[in-house]
């Protein structure tokens, strides 16, 4: 009799499975949002923690960008393919010396399109009305040569003997000086303060260097203005600057050209831009420190989210067992959980990003925080990933709860 019934029952078994289900069941999101809605306070709290973590990550990122830019922006944006340093100075810009006489030798090397020398120094811009002088990087360049930044307002330098300057955007923002203005530069020569007057002919985009805004002057003016430890009384035979910026005819050929230049010139080291700015003192250490801070912040976020959802899950064991017993499938419960965690994380990240944006709008230009689309997208996506990652342990735990627990039994 049993066998007989079983055989008759067989088709019915498969009929059950044929019942058409909607592709995306509305039930998991329904459960997820009902639970959030009826426990608003608790879930909002976690969202706010995520929002704070988001703010922290974005600011650390912005700081890394901003401080990094303050340090190396000029080199990063340099319109050149290779930078030539003096040999054996560990790519130190201030220790490196490249003389005027090298300029023609470099220019003659096959494959070199153009070359310009660059000298780095510092000075102060004297401002009227009892304002503090503004410390700037004083960068000497060749007019129309690699190293001269493009002026988005005004024009470029007319020649190498003129008393003209291009200022970068930061000088413009912090002094209010503009194209056509005359301004005074103060440097120390020996033990005396010296003053020079220059005319602003152009404004470039942000080109900070050594955490200072920059002004660009022709080589000869630079050599005259730049501070010196003692006043030289003998005329030097040659103008000495710090590095050379080289444009190549074929920038794809970077390594081979670097080797060729080094071989033909001797006593120089040719590197690409990235190597050059990463060798800037403090830059790499600073960036890796901030990177560590960022990673730890993300890790803390991971643990906070993971911890919250795990505690929540532990409190819900009986309830989940009951839901499974009355026929909720494991996937219904898993999807509801994932919907919840994604929503809570998303809410937190949105609140945090909006808060960060609002805060950053109120910062003065001197705060070295800068948001680039790339880094913000990276930060936000890593934050969105840590939510679900933090919930992974809880998810596995949820999946394993036996419906039998609803009856108070163990398997």
């Amino acid at each position: 009799m049993y066998v007989d019934t079983a055989r008759r029952a067989a088709p019915r078994t498969s009929n059950l499975n044929l019942q058409i289900k909607p592709l995306i069941s509305p039930l998991p999101p329904y459960l997820a949002f009902k639970e959030i809605w009826r426990n608003k306070g608790r879930f909002l709290l976690v969202s706010l923690v995520i929002a704070l973590i988001t703010t922290l990550v974005l600011f650390v990122d912005g700081l890394a960008e901003g401080l990094g830019a303050g340090n190396i922006e000029y080199l990063q944006k340099l319109n050149a393919d290779l930078v030539l340093f003096q040999e054996n100075v560990d790519l130190s810009v201030s220790a490196s010396q490249v003389g005027w006489s090298n300029l023609n030798d470099i220019g003659r090397i096959q494959g070199v399109k153009d070359v310009g020398l660059i000298g780095f120094s510092n000075a102060s811009i004297v401002l009227g009305d009892g304002q503090e002088p503004l410390d700037v990087s004083l960068i000497g360049i060749g007019a129309g040569k690699p190293g001269e930044p493009e002026a988005f307002a005004g024009r470029s330098l007319k020649g190498n003997r003129v008393k003209e300057a291009i200022i970068d955007r930061n000088v413009f923002l912090r002094t209010g000086l503009s194209v056509g203005d005359q301004f005074t530069i103060k440097t120390i020569q020996g033990i005396d303060e010296e003053f020079y007057t220059l005319e602003i002919v152009g404004i470039s985009d942000g080109r900070q260097y050594f955490i200072r805004p920059s002004i660009f002057v022709p080589y000869l003016a630079w050599d005259e203005i730049k501070p010196q430890a003692f006043v030289e009384d003998t005329d030097r035979s040659e103008l000495i600057l710090n590095v050379a910026a080289v444009q190549l005819e074929n920038p794809g050929n970077l390594d081979a050209m670097a080797r060729r230049i080094e071989a033909q010139l001797g006593s120089v080291e040719a590197v690409d831009l990235k190597t050059a700015y990463q060798a800037t003192p403090g830059y790499s250490a600073q960036q890796s420190t901030l990177n560590t801070v960022r990673i730890f912040t993300l890790l803390i976020g991971l643990l906070v989210i993971g911890g919250f959802f795990q505690i929540q899950t532990l409190q819900k064991v009986a309830q989940i067992g009951m839901l499974k017993a009355i026929g909720a499938s494991t996937s219904t419960i898993a999807i509801a959980f994932v919907v919840q965690i994604v929503y809570i994380t998303l809410l937190g990240v949105v609140i945090g990003s909006a808060g960060t944006l609002a805060l950053s709008l109120s910062f003065p230009v001197t705060v070295p925080i800068r948001f680039t689309t790339e880094s913000v997208i990276l930060a936000i996506s890593s934050l969105l990933i840590i939510g679900p990652m933090g919930g992974l342990v809880s998810l596995i735990y949820l999946l394993r709860i036996e419906p039998l627990t609803a009856l108070g039994l163990r398997p």
């Binding site: 049993y2 019934t5 079983a6 008759r8 029952a9 019915r12 078994t13 059950l16 499975n17 019942q19 289900k21 909607p22 509305p26 039930l27 329904y30 459960l31 009902k34 639970e35 809605w37 009826r38 426990n39 009986a318 309830q319 067992g321 009951m322 839901l323 499974k324 017993a325 009355i326 026929g327 909720a328 499938s329 494991t330 219904t332 036996e402 419906p403 039998l404 609803a406 009856l407 108070g408 039994l409 398997p411």
Partner: protein
């Protein structure tokens, strides 16, 4: 009448420290539609274990269970879940309800699980809740209800999707006698009205006056079965006195 539920020589053993515990020992039973059965017996006699096997939540060590013509042990886990969702109504001793859903939402959850959430079934839900005396509690959360009210919500949820069998584990454990009797009476009348097969585990023998059959268990075995009206009345009256 053909039985909707048949257990054939069902045994469940546990091995703890190399001693074998026979939680359920060679139990056979049959329940027909419209029949409300009480499973009674002392603590540890195997009532809940038997119920778990009848629900397809626990695999018997031996024997087979057939519900509505289908053998539970031949189904996959997924099929068993689907089977519970469609054919079984449950009430549990505790943690019956989803804490963040209202009375109405808790009952309708069963409809949503089965894709039966229609205007008609919603009206049925309201009717059922009114019958159970919860018409004015529809939008309360479980935490705002008494234990008896929560049990009645669970009963509504167990019945709303027209299951074939209803399994209730100690539905009156947390209630005082008067309320317990009232809950079981309503439960019995609804089971009879819908022509379902109902099994109630209880160790409160006074609740047995509303059932059609009493199965008394002892040490995992069926000790006695009372199935005539006189026997049942005599049995429950005897216990009413204490």
């Amino acid at each position: 009448m053909t039985a909707v539920l048949e257990a054939d020589s069902v045994t469940k053993t546990y091995e703890v420290d190399s001693t074998v515990i026979r939680a359920v020992d060679d139990v056979s039973l049959q329940i027909c539609p419209g029949e409300f059965v009480a499973l009674v017996g002392p603590s540890g006699s195997g009532k809940t274990t038997m119920l778990a096997m009848l629900a397809g939540l626990l695999k018997p060590t031996q024997g087979s269970i057939m519900i509505g013509g289908r053998k539970l042990h031949q189904m996959s886990d997924e099929q068993r879940t689907q089977f519970r969702r469609e054919k079984v109504g449950f009430t549990f001793q505790s943690n019956n309800l989803v804490p963040y859903l209202t009375v109405r939402e808790n009952v309708e959850l069963m409809l949503k699980l089965n894709n039966q959430y229609t205007r008609q079934s919603q009206e049925q839900t309201l009717g059922l809740l009114a019958q159970l005396g919860l018409g004015d509690r529809l939008n309360n959360l479980p935490s705002q209800l008494s234990g008896g009210q929560q049990q009645r919500v669970a009963i509504a949820r167990a019945l709303v999707h027209n299951p074939a069998i209803v399994l209730a584990d100690e539905p009156t454990a947390s209630l005082d006698t008067a309320r317990a009797l009232q809950v079981v009476q309503t439960f019995a009348s609804l089971i009879h009205a819908q022509n379902l097969a109902g099994i109630m585990v209880t160790h409160d023998l006074r609740m047995c006056q509303f059932v059609d059959k009493i199965i008394q268990m002892q040490d995992g075995k069926i000790a006695r079965v009372f199935d005539s009206e006189q026997e049942i009345r005599a049995f429950s009256n005897a216990h009413m006195l204490n």
